[in-house]
Amino acid sequence: MIGHDQDRVLSNPRFRELVQQRSAFSWTLAAAMLVAYFGFILLVAFAKGFLASKIGSGVTSLGIVLGLGVIVFSFLLTGIYVWRANGHFDPLTRNLTKELRP
């Protein structure tokens, strides 16, 4: 792609809308994953007693529930991303490429 065409794409409002929305969305999800995971790691490092506490009258500890929770959370996040990308970003990309095609 040569310089002139590039400027045309970069200043295209649809292109700007797509990349702004998508990067905000994917960085938010990435941040959520980082917070969940390193939050869990910091609890393991600093709050062993908290993770050892029992959730009910049985033996199951909060740590096990939270740990399995992080696993489920990771998968849910990927699901949310794919759902939004399929339903929202793909149509935006398609419209954009159609518009840019000479």
């Binding site: 792609m1 794409v9 292109f15 960085w27 994953m33 980082l34 393991v44 049985g58 740590g63 096990i64």
Partner: protein, 564 residues
């Protein structure tokens, strides 16, 4: 020609496997650990090998172009690729190792499972689609998209080969030991069988055969682990609480297995391990390569979604298997090395070591036939992982070093593929030799080292070249080298190598994993040296970002689906 060669390879392998089994049946006093020959396991593994060689034979006939060889012609669907990624990623070490960790210390096993999983969402959100839009065969295609081909390709190839070498050594030694235990084969035979099979898969069948080996292995592993977990859960009326209660009552450490224990001793180690696992996943060359086997960015995205699902499910299963092993095995002396008085160590006394927890549980839940199945699956698992690694290493040699650096883009497709096949053979032979040399070394740190290098060299270079306009060749090169060398040197100075391998009194680097230092160092190096770079080339590279940015975000101009 290829057909004849593939057929000959099938025949030779069949004889090799059978011959090795027969030879190994002879008396051998030296190998204390070796078990009696496990015929059901050998028969089932033989079936797996025959099936996959059949696939390799077919794939070899369909593999003509470089796109076929490196990327299976781009004809893999998102779902298939998700399974193949899972098959590439779920190693025997994570199956047996994590269930063993849960068996010995309960909760601590979960820390590793989670670490191995959480890199995947990051790959999806930041890398997968852009990678597919920008590259065609290797991640170096992407890292060098607007940077200097020679230096960035060499850096990426070195990063790839380092990860592949460390990972392969760990896998080969693990394979030899495991097969000795499971099949009753000699260590050397096991290493040679693994090495020869991976050469055949990769050199004849390329990415297509490797993909199908990984898909089949993923299905077998998930099916076996699901079956075991269901039997365990059924025993407790599908109540995890009942299973945990029984485990706490049985385990010598009692209630301590429900809480963080000794695995993570200090906060720095915990965070460092976490960083290596999370960002290392996003820098593993054999995994990144898989994104080029699908048609477009959309399929790449779906493959990560499916892969994350399969891998998450698998780690939940290993957790259940670990607890199942506690409840099933710890009261049964039959699974332990016992003293004449009949006492045994419930944690470390398992026959064959704690890594055999899942294997013994297979006997306890499904009898000897199921034991054979799980043993064969463990062998298949190793094969699928080493095949992916070999293909990735061979591609770094042929596509990055040969085609781009030595031939400067003037090599024909045919020649590039021939070089790749040759490289696969050489890597396979080197892996066999290294596996033999390292037999009695402690190689447990090698997987950690592979992840640390991936997180400290490949990942920063890739991410910065895709996402930051300011990245220049000089910055990426110096920052990447800084990450690579600091990771390797800090591991050498850590306890696992400095004390355990070299025999020095005290380690010079107090933590097990270097990522918390080496990864930021790489990012910092890329940033500083790029900022300081005021050469004309750097100006051109910054200016070229716009074109790369448009293509990475929209897929306009991306390499097509390769399908013909």
């Amino acid at each position: 020609m290829i057909r004849i060669r593939a057929a000959a390879a099938v025949a030779v392998l069949g004889i090799a496997c059978f011959g090795a089994a027969v030879l190994a049946a002879g008396p051998d006093v030296g190998a204390v650990q070796r078990q009696a020959l496990n015929w059901p396991a050998i028969a089932m593994f033989f079936l797996f090998v025959l099936g996959t060689l059949g696939i390799t034979y077919r794939a070899a006939r369909q593999t003509r172009s470089a796109a076929d060889f490196y990327a299976a012609g781009g004809g893999i669907t998102g779902f298939q690729n998700g399974l193949a990624i899972a098959g590439d990623y779920m190693s025997a070490a994570s199956f047996l190792g994590i269930s063993a960790l849960v068996f010995t210390s309960g909760f601590d096993g979960l820390i590793y499972s989670i670490g191995f999983l959480v890199g995947w969402p990051i790959v999806l959100f930041l890398i997968a689609e852009r990678l597919r839009n920008l590259g065609s065969f290797t991640f170096a295609d992407v890292a060098s998209f607007r940077l200097d081909q020679t230096s960035i390709r060499i850096l990426s190839a070195v990063g790839t080969l380092a990860v592949v070498a460390f990972y392969l050594i760990a896998q080969m030694v693990g394979a030899g030991k495991l097969i000795q235990l499971l099949f009753g084969l000699d260590y050397l035979y096991a290493v040679v069988i693994v090495g020869v099979l991976m050469i055949v898969y990769v050199a004849f069948g390329g990415m297509k055969a490797t993909t199908w080996v990984q898909i089949i292995k993923a299905c077998l592993l998930l099916a076996g682990a699901t079956f075991m977990s269901l039997i365990v859960l059924a025993r407790f009326g599908f109540s995890p609480e009942a299973m945990f209660a029984q485990a706490v009552a049985t385990h010598p450490r009692g209630d301590a297995i429900m809480a963080p224990g000794a695995l993570v001793s200090d906060p720095i180690s915990a965070i460092s391990l976490g960083m290596a696992l999370m960002f290392g996943t996003a820098g593993l060359p054999h995994i990144l390569m898989r994104f080029f086997t699908v048609a477009d960015a959309q399929a790449a995205r779906k493959s990560v979604f499916y892969a994350t699902g399969f891998i998450a499910y698998f780690y939940v299963l290993t957790f259940i298997i670990g607890f199942g092993a506690i409840t099933y095995l710890m009261n049964e002396p039959a699974y332990y090395v016992t003293t004449p008085e009949g006492t045994y160590d419930r944690i470390s006394g398992l026959i064959g070591g704690t890594n055999m927890a899942a294997v013994h549980l297979a006997t306890a839940t499904g009898g000897s036939l199921f034991l054979g199945f799980i043993s064969a699956v463990a062998f298949a698992t190793i094969l699928a992982v080493v095949a992916g690694l070999t293909l990735s290493g061979a591609s770094a040699v042929s596509h990055d070093l040969y085609a781009s650096v030595i031939a400067r883009g003037r090599a024909s497709d045919q020649r590039e593929v021939s070089i790749s096949k040759l490289a696969a053979i050489v890597i396979g032979i080197v892996a066999i030799v290294l596996g033999y040399v390292f037999e009695n070394q402690n190689v447990a740190f090698m997987v950690g080292l592979a992840f640390a290098v991936a997180a400290s060299c490949n990942f920063p270079v890739l991410v910065m070249s895709i996402l930051w306009r300011g990245t220049t060749t000089r910055g990426a090169l110096l920052g990447g080298l800084l990450g690579l060398f600091s990771a390797v040197i800090l591991v050498v100075l850590s306890k696992a190598v400095w004390v355990s391998t070299f025999g020095f009194q005290r380690e010079l680097f107090p933590y097990d994993n270097p990522a918390v230092f080496s990864m930021p160092l790489a990012f910092l190096g890329i940033w500083v040296f790029s900022k300081l770079d005021s050469s004309r080339r750097a100006e051109a590279e910054r200016a070229a970002f716009a074109g790369q940015y448009i293509r990475s975000e929209t897929g306009i101009g991306a390499a097509s689906a390769h399908v013909h």
